[in-house]
Symmetry: C2
Subunit: 560 residues, 2 copies
């Protein structure tokens, strides 16, 4: 490895994940301030919600700052295949255009995303083996095997001339992960002996005492719970937790049930897992459409939708709208999942719908049918004692998690701890760690087929339309500036007690528009913008009086 030059710096720049759980985008820069080279670690999404971000299903970190550094980005290195780590790649790659590196299972899922966006031929994707190494300019990167809730979770030991950064990615310490190797403790200890400058670490469960528990425990408990069920059983879990999927498939066999996959992502992940040689011992599940009539006691559905997502399989089943799966009195739904904060209301609504159908519920509240994939406090303590970093840099958390993690690191006597926000440029070396700059950061929305800023007028208009409704005024004006037809008023989203009152209101608005036009001078009537502005003002005021709302008002002046 080359020796550092006198003005070299090693910096860390989170553009996503330092302020939320989800939507990770981490960058490391090396070199003098005016000529840094960069690697990007992970590039994930967070999910929009029909209510909070209507029309927007995916939210991306804004890579704006790195777009300006495009030629200096040496690579995009992916730790694992969760959507909050890889989901933005296909959307943002055209702005970054760097080669991509991933292990086999991650690469399989990435390829699928690239194919959907017609990018498969364009993006250079290198598949690395587990424990593989990768040299990108000043960054010598080593994949270190960890455990998590998806196959092939990796941390990255990033060696630079100014020191080694241990980037954990998402992890836990699962003593029996069922799929994949144990945490590579030997590699961690060796790395620590070499000296760890900084550890950039998962903060998700920093408020949880103790340890997260093992997939093996879930296997035992879930099998027992299912054995006690008499009617149909539906297990919901994240599809990407292949160990959990395997558990459900094996539990089905143990209980004399035929497993059935329900939901697109179950099929997608099942195929990806099979593609890398996983699930070889598990019974082959049926697809939902192939099931037909089966004894209730002989079937086990494995469903997506544990978070109450309205269009996912489980919500459709709860509403009685699923084409192939019906659950009723005496059947059981097992939530082998946690409640992700923010989804409480949707999940409770799901519970209530099932209860209304007489369906029994088994959740992680009462039964040990789920473990988290992120480290609880004892696991964090263990990792700090393995890695012994000079600097703790908590990420993958809201501000409250990151602050708590900084506190924990200080209790553990880590010499320095720094809790960044998205956009904070953190100097890791030389000298004490410090936030030396703040670069623009934020979110982007995938809106239909275009990526927009969150402040895009179109999105702001939709928020306003949702609450206030819309009014449109159309009128045809002669060359002599007389109204020849109209004003015609149409409204959307504005309610009246009945049709008659609505007609009265529309007439009122039409008279208002007419009167506003009449008040204009001849010169103003010649000017579309002046006509529009006057009519918008008058009609909006009338609408406020009629509805106590402030609708968006548009005017079409048709010139004859």
């Amino acid at each position: 490895m080359r020796r550092p030059k006198s003005d070299d710096e090693l910096v860390f720049l989170p553009l996503g994940g330092a302020g939320e759980i989800g939507m990770n985008l981490n960058a490391y820069g090396y070199g003098p301030p005016d000529a840094r080279q960069w690697i990007i670690v992970d590039i994930g999404v967070t999910f929009g919600r029909e209510d909070a971000t209507p029309g927007v299903e995916l939210i991306l970190p804004d890579p704006g700052y790195l777009e300006g550094e495009q030629e200096n980005i040496l690579g995009i290195v992916l730790t694992h295949a969760h959507e909050d780590h890889i989901g933005a790649l296909a959307w943002l790659w055209p702005r970054l255009k760097a080669p991509v590196y991933a292990t086999p299972f991650t690469a399989a899922l990435v390829r699928e995303k690239l194919r959907e966006q017609n990018l498969l031929e364009k993006v250079p994707l290198t598949v690395l083996p587990l424990k593989g190494k990768l040299d990108l300019g000043p960054f010598d990167i080593e994949y270190i095997t960890l455990t998590h809730s998806i196959p092939e979770p990796n941390g990255l030991a990033i060696r630079t001339p100014l020191g080694l950064v241990w980037h954990t990615g998402d992890w836990k310490i699962d003593p029996d992960p069922l799929i994949g190797d144990l945490t590579d403790e030997a590699a961690l200890r060796a790395m620590a002996d070499e000296g760890v400058l900084a550890m950039v670490c998962d903060s998700t469960n920093v408020f949880v005492e103790g340890v997260s528990g093992s997939e093996a425990d879930v296997r035992e408990k879930l099998t027992k719970v299912i054995a006690g069920c008499t009617g149909r059983v539906a297990v919901t879990a994240f599809a990407s937790n292949v160990a959990r999927v395997e558990t459900a498939l094996l539990a089905a066999r143990a209980c004399g049930r035929t497993p059935v996959l329900v939901g697109r992502s179950m099929h997608r992940i099942y195929a990806a897992a099979k593609g890398v040689g996983l699930l070889a011992e598990a019974p082959t599940p049926l697809a939902e459409e192939d099931v037909g009539a089966m004894e209730p006691s002989k079937v086990l559905y494995l469903c997506t939708g544990s978070q109450g997502e309205p269009r996912a399989a489980l919500s459709r089943i709860a509403r009685g709208e699923h084409r192939h799966v019906k659950l009723t009195n005496g059947d059981t739904v097992v939530f082998s999942s946690r409640v992700i904060p923010g989804n409480e209301a949707a999940i409770h609504a799901l519970y209530n719908m099932f209860i209304d159908r007489g369906v029994d519920l088994i959740t992680a509240d009462d039964h040990p049918v789920h473990v988290s994939g992120h480290p609880a406090r004892d696991e964090l303590r263990q990792m700090y004692s393995w890695a012994r970093p000079r600097i703790a840099v908590p990420v993958h958390g809201e501000q409250r998690h990151i602050r708590e993690h900084v506190k924990l690191a200080r209790e553990l006597q880590v010499p320095e701890a720094i809790g960044p926000n998205n956009g904070d440029l953190v100097r890791l070396a030389p000298g004490p760690a410090a936030i030396i700059d703040e670069v623009p950061s934020g979110r982007l929305f995938v809106d239909g087929n275009v990526v927009i800023e969150t402040e895009d007028e179109a999105f702001r208009d939709r928020r306003r339309l949702a609450a206030e409704g819309a009014v449109h005024v159309a009128l045809a004006v002669s060359a002599k500036n007389a109204i020849m037809a109209g004003p015609n008023v149409t409204v959307r989203g504005l309610a009246m007690a009945d049709e008659e009152e609505l007609d009265i209101a529309l007439n009122d608005l039409e008279r208002t528009a007419q009167a506003a036009f009449s008040k204009l001078s001849h010169g103003e009537r010649d000017d579309d913008e002046a006509v529009e502005a006057a009519l918008v003002r008058a009609v909006r005021k009338a609408a406020e009086r009629l509805w106590r709302k402030r609708p968006l008002v548009d005017v079409s002046v048709l010139r004859l």
Copy 2:
């Protein structure tokens, strides 16, 4: 009391609250099935959310079934002044037109609502004393004093010729409620000796083991916590919890701080409490605008907005947008409140904003600075052992709470337990309790100044506008059915990567509309509806191709 006739029945009908926590509307009917007389107990709202119900701040129970029974409604009897028990009165009273009964504090807040809706002169409102009695036809009603998180919480002993119903309203067993009397155990025991046919009971905290705790404990802990603060302190709590407000005022005095009320409902409730003689011993708070510059260590703000409501005082302070209150490094916010399910995301966002400002947070997660106003399981057990009802009827809960409460009642050997949904007509006597009918029930939205059905087209359109946007097409057509101007297309809520692409898209839509018009026969061109339908179809299809969205499309045909 008169003797029951052979065909008399006593029925219970929840139209709100049996399926949600909030929005209570309970009715009791007595008489033969074709000539029942009714009383309504409570008539509350639930709150809309900007994201889930845009433009709708209040949600009401649909009293549709009772509207048909208007002449047979003997009274609307209110148990206490929480919004989910009284908030719908002013909106729904014109549909029910029955006299209203309440104790003094509740009546004070009701009067204010009636005044706002110009109903004060119309609604007959009778103020009853605590422990008062009220005879309404076959219903002899006795107010029994309980404890809760608001002054004057009452249960109702409703005596009828077919038996006594114990309607708890909202309650807990607070051994030291600070304001108001203790739970009137003597009255409960006397009632039980008389024989309780049915107990209609609060289910909110049926999943919580143990007891809810006392306001007196909170007073001690909150005072201690505030004594430990050095900078500015803001305490957020529900304004209606007057004991808690008093605690904050007294804690301010004990800690040498001047209390300052922030937020409209703090002032409103403070005035109502003073009006009935409460808060006499507490220091008089300042209003936020009268504070001016004060030593940080000398001020205690008492704020609304503990649930992260975006327009409440606390959210504005967190965003740095409050005119009078600024919090910064070294200041502390004390959440003397719980996280109401569904508000997690909003409240966590609030935490994160404060943390970002360096403000310390003290919440009920770490410090005993809040107790619930609803009974935990040990209190439920105590109430069942006091009342010894023949029938348990859990209400004030989602289906999951109600089902759990039914289970608890059965464990306690209550002979019958029945968990109703909104709209279930429950026969309490004679014979075994049973759901004998299902009447229409549902929700209404207060939308601007009109009360609408949740399925109102205007609201559905707004949801669609929020996700999909709007397109408007205007064209002027001559008597000979030629287009003389337009088609002009305007869009709202539809984004393109840049202005140029948007212009291209608008031109595309205009050509599409033009082409669709050209394809019509002369006869069709004469018919506005045919023109509109054809253009809507064509333009929507083009918009789907351009944006991958399905906007609402409207067409204005101006006839010259």
